[in-house]
Amino acid sequence: MSASREHVLARVRAALADVPRDEKPEDVTVPDDYARSHDQGEPIGLLVDRLEDYKAVVHRVGAADLPAAVASAMAWRNTHRVVVPADLPADWTSQTATRTVAGDELDIDELDAVDGVITGCAVAIAETGTIVLDGGAGQGRRAVTLIPDYHLCVVRADQVVAGVPEAVARLDPRRPLTWISGPSATSDIELDRVEGVHGPRTLEVIIVE
């Protein structure tokens, strides 16, 4: 193994014989005059617009109305049993009649048998309609938002940033991240977009202002 390592590195160095020996990576300048965000509108309104463009269902509520909004979404989807991360704030699900089960202990088959999952998120990007999960508070491990067919995600207004650079700066790369832009989709058959292949086929988002 290490022979291959030395072999490849030696070939890389030989290939770069034209690069001056005293050149440092930073000597290759990278223009940074691109924008941190693009002034495409008020971030929350923009996020809603982008999410709806991906066929996600979006609601905007005040903080006091979140439990009722969750209950209403659960009833509308006719869910009986949904997974929640163990540290999901208890008041979010305080008004729903749907049974919630802590996802942390469930195996893959058990996750496959529930009606949906409720989580929070780490960051949301308005310009691209992207929600990022980082396994932090109220998000659980990656499998809980992957296997159930319905994902209800709660986004706090202070988690919304305008553009991708701001999101990258807020995130910790040491955590496993999942960036979600709309529900699972494919365009592999004659470029006809079909929502839902393997990930959740329905993405519903409640934005709390």
């Binding site: 890389v12 160095r13 991906y54 992207t130 396994g135 992957l146 470029l191």
Partner: protein, 486 residues
């Protein structure tokens, strides 16, 4: 994929067959136009696109010029995060590493995330020889695998198949590989996607080893990045116990912050979306979440040869978005198979001959598989000057004794062009004979006309016309309406 590219005909020959396939041309035309219109619209949304493009190109240049530094940094970061790094000088070595790693798990099945690198090294075939079954889980790759076919586009590998063909493939082949297609399967894309979901779900929930590539590998943090749409990537990257990622050494970006550029450039250039539905990033292993064993296989396989060429090096900036395929008038007519490589289109025409060399006929023909119109350079999100590299590679092919017929023709043309009197005589002779020129040239010229129509020969040369106008005499063009051959 059991089909291989062995014995592939040279591009002009393969292209002639492809351009005669009306169904293929219809599929391609519709697909490439749809994607490029979408791309243009979302690129238009960003007023700093030129800046992002310049930054993307510069970050990749920085990486390539100091690749040894970044490779060592990446190795260190991945190892620190609990992963294991392997190095592979060529395809055989990479396949052996992966085969050994899979064997060590005690399993004989792997699920795969769509990956160009593993196709390039023909990993599935190597695993099959070792008794390990690899399941492609991207819908298009599944169609290609079940159809015993090869991909024809970087982004949508089954672009050459229409819905009724896909239905037939599913009906005929799914049962051999696992859950069969449902009875009464229609050719509605929704029904076909549902059949794929059911077929693959069993694999996702039971397979313990996964193989992926990566769109980016971040040197300073050891983070791998995979962009996808369907969720099959997430399934493979999170549910198995062991994850093996085969990644070309050119996929590195120096820092985590650099992703802010590429996560804007790639989706918009590729699918014409503001962002692809799912992006997964992981750094080594995370206790309690995802695979607990992670192996990174760093692949050379011709990349250092490409790096050594100061003009051709820029091809390694490629982020595999496929915008150049979708804009290319040649690709639109021939499709991907004619290029005889997993990398088709303009980028394939410069990348493949550099990765594989130009010894074979197909590889020597690829730098000529272009009209040099430059559209590919215009749309490239990392500003690869594909026409420049094409011309450079043509030179290399010619010097290397690649195209004998072309060298003969060039020598003859040189003899005529270097003497004004010879040129004038030749032009007048051509003008007289213009009615006799066939659409397809005989003899050594046939190769040239296989992919082009013979241009109309003007009734009068520019020099003759100029001389006549100066003297005020009426010309042939005015005396007789010019009759085209077609």
């Amino acid at each position: 994929m059991s089909a291989t590219f062995m014995g592939m005909p040279a591009f002009p020959e393969a292209a002639r067959a492809a351009t005669g396939d009306a169904q293929l041309r219809h599929n391609l035309r519709k697909a490439t136009r749809t994607i490029r219109d979408k791309r243009a619209a979302v690129v238009e949304e960003l007023d700093d696109w030129a800046g992002l493009r310049a930054a993307g190109a510069a970050i990749k240049n920085r990486t390539l010029r100091h690749l040894d530094t970044y490779l060592e940094r990446l190795e260190e970061a991945v190892t620190a995060a609990g992963g294991t790094v392997h190095w592979a000088a060529d395809a055989a070595e990479a396949n052996a590493v992966v085969t050994d790693l899979v064997r060590a798990t005690g399993h004989d099945e792997v699920v795969k995330v769509k990956s160009m690198a593993t196709q390039e090294i023909e990993l599935n075939e190597a695993l099959a020889e070792a008794g390990i079954t690899a399941y492609e889980t991207d819908l298009a790759e599944l169609i290609v695998q079940l159809g015993d076919d090869t991909p024809s586009h970087i982004l949508v590998p089954a672009i050459h198949r229409n819905r009724s063909e896909i239905r037939e493939i599913f009906r005929a082949k799914m049962a051999e590989w696992g859950v069969p297609a449902p009875d009464g399967l229609t050719d509605d894309p929704r029904a076909l996607a549902e059949a794929a979901r059911t077929h693959l779900r069993e694999k996702f929930l039971t397979t313990r080893v996964a193989v992926s590539g990566a769109n980016f590998a971040v040197a300073d943090t050891g983070t791998m990045v995979v962009l996808e749409s369907e969720g099959n990537g997430r399934m493979c990257l999170t549910l198995p116990e062991t994850l093996i990622s085969v990644v070309g050494i050119e996929k590195i970006v120096p820092t985590w912050a650099d992703l802010e550029v590429f996560l804007q450039l790639l989706p918009r250039s590729s699918t014409g979306e503001r962002m692809n539905p799912y992006t997964s990033t992981w750094t080594g292993v995370t206790p309690g979440d995802g695979p607990q064993e992670f192996h990174l296989v760093l692949l050379d396989n011709g990349r250092t040869d490409t790096l050594a060429d100061q003009v051709g090096r820029q091809a390694l900036r490629c982020i595999r978005c496929s915008a150049c395929l979708n804009i290319c008038p040649v690709y639109e007519r021939t499709g991907g198979h004619a290029y005889g490589s997993v990398y088709p289109g303009p980028i394939g025409a410069i990348l493949t001959p550099q990765l594989r060399g130009t010894a074979s006929e197909i590889d020597a023909s690829l730098p000529y598989a272009s009209s040099l119109c430059g559209a590919c350079y215009e749309v490239c999100p990392v500003a690869i000057d594909i026409p420049e590299v094409l011309v450079h590679l043509r030179e290399r092919v010619t010097e290397g004794g690649g195209h004998a017929a072309e060298r003969t023709a060039m020598a003859a043309a040189g003899w005529v062009l270097e003497d004004r009197r010879r040129l004038t005589l030749a032009q007048r002779a051509a003008a007289k004979a213009r009615g006799l020129v066939p659409r397809r040239l005989p003899g050594p010229g046939a190769a040239w006309t296989d992919t082009r129509d013979v241009p109309d020969i003007p009734a009068e040369s520019f020099r003759d016309q100029w001389r006549r106008r100066e003297s005020g005499a009426p010309g042939r063009n005015e005396r007789k309406k010019r009759g085209g051959r077609r």
